[in-house]
């Protein structure tokens, strides 16, 4: 990074930070949807390269249509670009048609903002919402001419992984220089600062020097400074720092006081069509309902709310800056916000007369949730309603700690159908610990009962219910991290029985839609989720064999992954089953044990035992603390309202700047 030029393509030398757009432009007419690669979105920022010391490339390792709306990346992009001495640009995965052309024409991986070569940046930050983006990271590294293995890098960007998957970065440990756990806002500022000081001091100690500074902070994990030792049977013996000045555990970041961080202030408005054609406002972070399968809930504790007043201000500002027609009020379980009733009413009042629609991703099974949906769709825009009982039987719901009774569900859907909703979606999981065929077959019984009650409540026969089923994958830092994953054959067999049970019903079968995937992709997600460093070779082999875009069923190949895994794990004594369908003991050292999500491992184990004995726990927002360990360990606290504000003033009506003065009586 010290030299001012790098080798590009065959023999051209391009100054660092210079646009590669001319080379890329020649390829754009030859590929599908070129708009996704050109950037130029409303509210995008580009800064002159020479004006700043620290250059970040931020990658969401999936296609632009999925990555561009991602809140995490948009937030970090803004937080970093607000810093006078830092710039951040975005990059997304390129589809195979462009990848091929880029390789043929020596066009390097680029950012969409100023089309700078990714290799020119000081840092490459990747946000992994799911493990299925790992192979896309390897494509990006190779297109950027960055060595795949961190140890081979010299004058290359520092590759930093973040996002939920980074809570177990061991499977990608050989490809990344560092990983960050938890909320990114303060993390990227801390990293920028360390890197800036290092650059300005003349890069003391070279690459290793700055990585050491990062590791010493205690909240950046640098895999190379930790050695993993194995037992003869393949389990991990221990993970220890190989340097005295590196802490033995790395802790997660927790952002407190969301009101002080109202990002994104100017959401990006993509030109290309994306999966979310709306702007989002995050209304709180964290969830303490304690569903035992839920990694998101476990690793984002405690709950931190944004106040109603500041949410409303963000909605208003965002609409004005973007022109979007829909606003999503995001969080893990939005109906749980302590001021949600007033918030929904106030926002509905504000936007009732406009074309603006509000949506609330909440799947809570209760009548209040239906009231909220009714309120938010007052101006007529109605999408479907989704509820997530997650488990088919009362018993399995106690195992997963989803405290919903059959009566709750029937009462809720009755309210929904009665209020005029025609289609209700129900979300369940298959493959949960201790699950039997009977638990899953109960889903059919439940769905039929839903239709029966719905017909009665609405007085119509044309109501529908869609049952969606996801395969359960045990995740690190959850009480189910020790559980055996269900093999894909059993998953498929169970789902087939469910399908038969629904289809064979003359009375209700036609009113029930069933959506599910086969169990194979879940097994690959499983090995990537709970894998250790040995899984790195599996990823690399699969990628070399062509694995790309693994989250897309049309690109995913189970056979390719299995062949790659069998090859890469040869002579290790462990295999895919060992990582997925094997139950772990309490004493086993888990690959992520040295990474601290704040959860006390004894508490997690007790919660796992409670699950096995079908005992439920309550939410700590409403009942006394159940000592999961997070607040004490992280020195954080629950931040919930209500703030006491009941009514928000209506914003002063905006006088349109385009009217002919005096002619319309605004």
């Amino acid at each position: 990074m010290s030299s001012s030029t790098i080798e590009a393509g065959a023999n051209k030398v391009r100054p660092r930070g210079q646009s590669v757009f001319p080379e890329l432009e020649a390829l754009l007419p030859l590929i599908a949807k070129p708009i996704q690669y050109v950037g130029g979105e409303l509210n995008a920022v580009t800064k002159p390269w020479e004006d700043v010391t620290v250059h970040w490339a931020l990658m969401y390792p999936d296609a632009y249509e999925v990555g561009a709306p991602n809140q995490g990346v948009q937030i970090l992009y803004e937080v970093l670009n607000e810093q006078p001495d830092v710039l951040a640009e975005r990059t997304y995965s390129v589809w195979p048609d462009l990848e091929t052309l880029m390789r043929e024409n020596n066009v390097p991986a680029f950012t969409v903002d100023a089309h700078r070569s990714v290799a020119d940046f000081d840092l490459l930050g990747l946000s992994f919402s799911t493990e299925l983006g790992y192979t896309n990271m390897l494509t990006a590294l190779s297109l950027a001419n960055i060595p795949l293995h961190a140890v081979d890098r010299e004058d290359h960007p520092i590759v930093v992984a973040g996002g939920h998957a980074a809570f177990n970065p061991e499977p990608i440990a050989q490809f990344i220089d560092a990983a960050v756990l938890g909320d990114g806002e303060e993390a990227v500022l801390l990293i920028s600062n360390i890197v800036k000081v290092w650059i300005e001091a003349g890069r003391p100690g070279g690459r290793e020097g700055v990585l050491l500074e990062l590791a010493k902070s205690g909240c950046v994990y640098v895999p190379r400074f930790y050695d993993v030792e194995y037992l003869p049977d393949g389990r991990i013996k221990r993970v220890v720092p190989n340097r005295a000045d590196v802490p033995s555990r790395v802790t997660k970041f927790t952002l407190m006081d969301l009101d002080a961080w109202p990002f994104p202030k100017a959401p990006l408005v993509p030109l290309a069509e994306t999966v979310h054609e709306r702007m989002s406002v995050e209304i709180f972070r964290g969830c303490t309902r304690g569903c035992r399968f839920c990694q998101a809930g476990m690793i984002t504790r405690p709950v931190r709310e944004r106040s109603m007043t500041s949410i409303a201000a963000m909605v208003e500002n965002g609409l004005e800056k973007t022109g979007f027609e829909e606003v999503g009020l995001l969080s893990l379980s939005s109906a749980d916000h302590s001021e949600i009733g007033d918030l929904a009413r106030n926002l509905a009042d504000r936007y009732e007369k406009s074309q603006t629609s509000l949506s609330l991703p909440s799947t809570r099974v209760d009548a209040f949730n239906v009231d909220l949906a009714n309120e938010l769709s007052r101006n007529g825009r109605r999408s479907g309603l989704t509820f997530a009982p997650e488990g088919g039987s009362e018993r399995i719901r106690r195992v997963i700690n989803k405290l919903v009774s059959e009566e709750d569900l029937i009462r809720t859907v009755t309210t929904a159908y009665g209020a005029g909703w025609r289609n209700v979606k129900l979300y369940f999981m298959c493959g949960l610990p201790t699950e039997t065929d009977e638990d899953v077959l109960q889903i059919a019984t439940m769905a039929k009962e839903v239709i029966r009650a719905g017909r009665e409540a609405s007085g119509r026969r044309d109501i529908k219910c869609t049952v969606s089923i996801g395969g359960f994958v045990p995740k690190p830092h959850t009480p189910f991290q020790w559980a055996a994953q269900l093999d894909h054959e059993s998953t498929d067999a169970r789902l087939q029985k469910l399908k038969d049970a629904i289809r064979s019903d003359k009375e209700f079968g036609k009113a029930i839609g069933l959506r599910y995937h086969d169990g194979k992709p879940g097994i690959i997600e499983g090995i990537l989720s709970r894998g250790d460093r040995r899984v790195g070779n599996v990823i690399e082999t699969a990628w070399k064999n062509g694995a790309r875009f693994d989250g897309w069923s049309e690109h995913f190949s189970f056979d390719r992954w299995m062949e790659s895994a069998n090859y890469a794990l040869e002579n290790t004594g462990v295999d895919v089953d060992w990582y997925t369908t094997r139950e772990r003991e309490y004493t086993e050292v888990l690959p992520w044990d040295h990474l601290d999500s704040g959860l006390d491992s004894e508490w997690l184990w007790e919660d796992w035992q409670d699950a096995l004995s079908e005992v439920a726990v309550d939410d700590c927002r409403w009942t006394p603390c159940f000592d999961c360990g997070v607040c004490e360990q992280m020195d954080t606290e629950i931040q919930v309202g209500p703030t006491g504000v009941i009514d928000l003033p209506m914003p002063s009506p905006r006088v349109s700047p385009v009217l002919v003065q005096g002619l319309c009586g605004n």
Partner: protein, 255 residues
């Protein structure tokens, strides 16, 4: 509840405005649908009092006329909008331009006073930057203009279509070298020729890529890199197929 259209302000359209806009630089890769979304959002950001259609999913009243294909830049795209309060065309131009990303630029806005606008868009002038030796390009142009019919095929939504690309071409001429604006780098790689082509709008429409297909077919012209195309103008044919008028003129006269 969900089975009756919601109550909303459904004020009537009291004014129609016509917009001329440009699609420039990297945003030429936006598709028509991409532009539609961007325009609708920009109209909201700019606070334009749009008229909406009635019904369950109301649409703002916007009508588009033959948009340039994805990848083709344009200086002359047209759109008409309906509003519920009288708007000042100049203020609307600048507010809307400000609300759109750079590269989608509003050039002119006029109040519509006539009704036969789309019929006035009789032909387009396309500028094509073809990187190939001049003799080869001009040879192919000569062959094409010398033919009475050149059948080309293109995949359309209704399947593969075969049609004549020659009869729609009214003029095809080379523009002097000095007009070349491409970066120095590209000129080193290849020689580029700039053509201006006047094409009459017929059905099925003959697009720039059809013209290039025709040049390839009759004159074996294979450019060294993708041809950069810009629509310079659209409008009524004035003299016999040589020049194109401003389609806004009739509205201006009546103001």
């Amino acid at each position: 509840m969900a089975n009756k259209p919601p109550e909303r302000d459904l004020a009537p359209t009291i004014q129609k405005l016509r917009l001329r806009y440009a699609k420039r630089g990297r945003l030429r890769f936006s598709s028509h649908r991409d532009f539609q979304r961007a325009l609708e959002r920009a109209l909201r950001r700019a606070g334009v009092p749009m008229a909406y259609s009635a019904g369950f999913s109301p649409h703002p009243k916007i009508s588009y006329s033959n948009s340039a294909p994805t990848g083709v830049a344009s200086e002359a795209e047209y759109v008409e909008i309906g509003v519920t309060q009288l708007c000042d065309p100049d203020k609307l131009r600048s507010a809307l331009d400000e609300a759109l990303p750079p590269g989608l630029d509003i050039i002119e806005v006029i109040v519509a006073t006539t009704s036969d606008f789309s019929a006035r868009l009789e032909a387009s002038v396309w500028e094509m930057e073809i990187c190939a030796p001049t003799e080869e390009v001009m040879g192919a142009v000569g062959e094409l203009l010398g033919s009475t019919e050149v059948l080309v095929e293109r995949m359309t939504k209704s399947g593969l279509r075969v049609f004549d690309a020659r009869s729609a071409i009214l003029l095809m001429e080379m523009v002097p070298q000095s007009a070349i604006t491409a970066p120095a780098d590209t000129q080193m790689l290849s020689e580029c020729v700039i053509l201006h082509v006047v094409v009459r709008h017929i059905t099925p429409s003959v697009r720039p890529d059809d013209v290039l297909t025709a040049l390839k077919q009759v004159g074996n012209l294979v450019p060294l890199k993708p041809v950069r195309v810009t629509r310079l103008a659209q409008g009524p044919l004035t003299e016999v197929g040589i020049s194109i008028g401003d389609p806004f003129d009739p509205d201006r006269v009546l103001v």
